[in-house]
Subunit: 339 residues, 4 copies
């Protein structure tokens, strides 16, 4: 076995800690050399639990660490763009949590910097690595549904975020639907050319007061002529609802939610099961492992990352188009945004 | 038991024969007195099999038959409007297959005639009487999902009709989606105010050459602010696909397809079931019985019919709006049409 | 079309009325000529509703009616044997509800009489005609599971019968399990050679006081070496529970219960459906139609009936063996009984 | 945090490696100090991959290691008894893979030794820690089914072991059914008093030649009067089949298999899913983590282990009874064996 990939992590919050743990315990061929967080104690907790040698309250020493091959950018969204540019300049391979930035022009700058540096750049669309959606993609690619014609994505959160979060989130399309925009492109294997949004504030008036909506129905037109929908709600009382369906000329594939167990209770009132896994940390646990494993593998083997800067950019572009469609109440071509 | 309701049937084709058989064998309180069809032998076959006393190749003697209380209009669409008007003038109660007419202005005339006559008028939206959709409606009305917010209707045929049928059908929205327009209003219990259509020719170029489309995705905005989608395809290779989902503030209800049996086969390749019931005559068999039973009951008991002329008119109005939305590639308010 | 088969019905109770209705409304090629019941009003009600010309409070005129081709014996169990013998003597084809008789020696006499007369004789094991079990049989016969090795039958009633019924029922094995004994032979396509019973009184002490048990687990050994179980309870609070599974060298087939609809409700407590169809009149509605249709067809076409006197006898023989196994707490070979 | 529990592992084969990996990566509060295997390279591989400091080809230094608090006995079955006795003598807490020994008298000696030593002793019935079965147990204990009356366990392997393995396995009851014997006691929360076995060689004649059977149906009688069945086959071509059902006075609970994904494919042939998880290393992955976690916790907190020496002994006792029942073709009381 060759020398393990040396990894630095910037940001030891929820998702940073998940990646650190997975790297330390479940992913072969990589080691975490250093971790930083502006809240030092968060980084220290990770380091202590996982045996990470170096801890900082500043990303600088991690970015420029001579022993580090690759960086995971897990800090807050507003820091992503600068950190990616600096990591690229330092010649590090980069895994960046979504979104790259909320400003599309800034995203373009960042991607240029990454291109110039020639480093591997992967964006954290973890749902692509989920066992269910990956199987749908495989089946679609293998021709199980023939030519894809219709796509449906149901993507509903169990509960809305606090209004203060909503205010800085970039809005539902860049914060929540962004995952589904990527999923749509992933499952159909082609680009979206136009979209149309219906939506409103149905869950929490505070979200409306923060200038956002909490329920959205997005219709997608793909370049191959197929049509898709994304159904988003900030609140499904029965838990995290994550399902897809692809329909085509030779059949259809669809997925159900994941459940904590398969027990079925029959009594004098109903036939029933427990609720689905409640939120993304439970639902997508394994997808985070697979995602990081693929990142490590693509660096070690010199292959293309499964989610690229282009993927990160397209999801943001679609978010822009969705905002405009909702604001102007009309279908919007992606070309209008890209111009 | 009081005297059975005496019923005349105009049109002994597929659906006329179904109603005749159900009335003869499975519905109490009614008898078929006479049946007519311009193809006399079709009417004769029904009459012979079911013991119907009078048979005609002309609707006239049925329309004006002094012993007949109620008429079933099961002839071709282009004859509906005239027959309903004449039946109303003759003081008969009327059950009319959908659509009332493909011309909205003509529909309005017909409904006025029916109103003036004061007879019971019911439109054949048989899916409202289906065990699955009726249960969804009950649950929604009972508050099982709280305030409805999102609706999805999947409605896909197993195979497209012949191009010559398509040419005279009035187009996918008035021929196929019309059922789903009614279903949307039925399940949500409120009116649609606006809709937007994406669609195309994905199944059969001949349908496109006939000036129609075969795949359509319709987004509905309801007056209570809820959003819905209708997914139509003329060809689902696995059979007739008829599912709905209503999502709301307190939960969701959804239905699966109906299957010919519950057998599950496990072998070295897969875990699988047979295909769903293949088309409407199998899938909706029982709904036709319930529908006619309700028609007979509402006449005998003097109650309102479960599907009214207004329901018939609204589905056509929505079809007009859908055509305009598709043609002009923009959301269309129903008000635009009604004006 | 040739002249309809003329049918007489003896017994206008629950099951007699079902058969009469099905013959009158849903089965082609047969007519009910006469119906009798010792409670005359029951026969009269049927006759009036269905237009049956002749009504009697005595089976005699039906048995000897010169215009009648076939008889349905739907009276109480203790009358079956005599009525079948007299019907056979009169040269009528016979459909007899199960069991032929609770006394095995008497069954043998009856079958001899039927054989001598050379008439068609069919026993009412309606579950063979159920859509689910028929599909399992087809799949097993077609080799979908390879060589059958294990069979499981779950057969639980929603509620126990009154203790007074239990006292004259012949016991759980001849009253309830008898259907499952036949199902086991039907699904596996071969004879049972030995069985073993575990059981007890778990539902209602009154059943124990009446000398019966209400819960039984029967293990079957088939002549091809396969093993089966039958799980019987007189009380499943969630409704009628009727499922089977056949496992073999190349796979398995199993069935789920039938439900009144496919609606699935998700709320903050659970994901759930309504209860299954509650009892045999709902669950097996269609099987009664198919069963009688097959009876009419086999007479008209001169083919073998799908359930024979041998089938009726074997189910009773297995009931005897089950009683002995339970009483003596040991496996019992069917040969021991037959001797 | 207090000092981690120091653990020694004896046996670095498949299951030893699983426990070592789980302890190293997914279980807090414990560290693996040493690992031994008579095939040194197996122990070395584990040690290298997981950073275990000490490696031996002899259990001796692990058994007597002064720094070790607890031992995992993961070596071959014939070594368990001696190793447990010596570990107990050395005052170590013990986790022992099932079975403790194939000889019941020897098991009794071992349990006495453990008792005298006063150490924690846990037997590796990992299925008790499975998400599905644990949920059934919880529901049964919580009264969801009322008084349990009937139990069914389906437990089928995807493929038979080699005949040479069968020859030394102790036979199907001590090798395979032993897990289900424990599951039966776990789910019902009470002891078995009697059992009856039907079985045979249906899968592989070589198994019969080795003196064993490959298909078994075991009927259990519980001390509370309930009845259960265990369905075992050495070969289910569709994969590992592990399902249970508990039926009682107030309802039923049952589980389905676990699947690699929830994708459902519909095409012109069938509606289908992928096969279930294929064998125990995939199906029970998480149960091994939970099991060891519970072992560590019960030592650290001084609580009773969830699976005791009594549990280990009872499963073997039931295996003896099953062998006798099959050999003598009669129900066998567990008392007969215990005497």
């Amino acid at each position: 076995m060759t020398k393990p990939l040396q990894i630095g992590i910037i940001g030891a919050g929820r998702i940073g800690a998940v990646h650190a743990t997975n790297l330390a315990t479940r992913i072969a061929g990589a080691e975490v050399t250093a971790i930083s967080d502006i809240r030092l104690e968060a980084a220290q907790r990770c380091a202590r639990d996982l045996g990470i040698p170096e801890v900082y309250d500043d990303p600088e020493p991690v970015l420029t660490h001579p022993g580090i091959d690759a960086l995971l950018i897990c800090s807050s969204t507003d820091t992503h763009a600068n950190l990616v540019e600096r990591a690229a300049a330092a010649g590090k391979h980069i895994f960046c949590e979504k979104p790259i930035d909320l400003d599309l022009a800034r995203v373009d700058q960042v991607l240029k910097a990454v291109d110039r540096a020639g480093v591997t750049f992967m964006v954290g669309f973890n749902r692509r690595f989920d066992h269910n959606f990956r199987r749908v993609r495989e089946l679609v690619q293998a021709g199980a549904v023939g030519t894809p014609q219709l796509l449906h994505i149901i993507s509903r959160d169990p509960a809305p975020p606090p209004a203060e979060y909503v205010a800085v989130s970039g809005g539902i399309f860049l914060d929540m639907t962004i995952h589904d925009f990527d999923m749509a492109r992933y499952l159909m294997g082609c680009e979206v050319t136009e979209l149309y949004v219906e939506g409103g504030v149905m869950v929490d008036p505070a979200i409306g007061e923060a200038g956002d909506i909490d329920t959205a129905l997005t219709v997608l037109r793909f370049e191959n002529g197929a049509i898709g929908t994304i159904d988003n709600s900030r609140k499904a009382v029965y838990g995290y609802d994550q399902r897809v369906e692809v329909f085509g000329s030779a059949g259809a594939v669809r997925t159900e939610n994941d459940y904590p167990n398969t027990a079925i209770v029959s009594d004098s009132r109903s036939i029933r099961t427990d609720l689905p896994l409640n939120f993304f940390m439970d639902r997508y646990t394994e997808s985070y492992v697979t995602e990081l494993n693929d990142f490590v593998t693509c660096i070690r083997e010199g292959t293309q990352p499964p989610t690229t800067g282009h993927d990160g950019r397209m999801a943001i572009l679609m978010g822009y188009a969705a905002r405009r469609s909702y604001a102007e109440h009309r279908p919007v071509k992606l070309d209008e945004i890209a111009r």
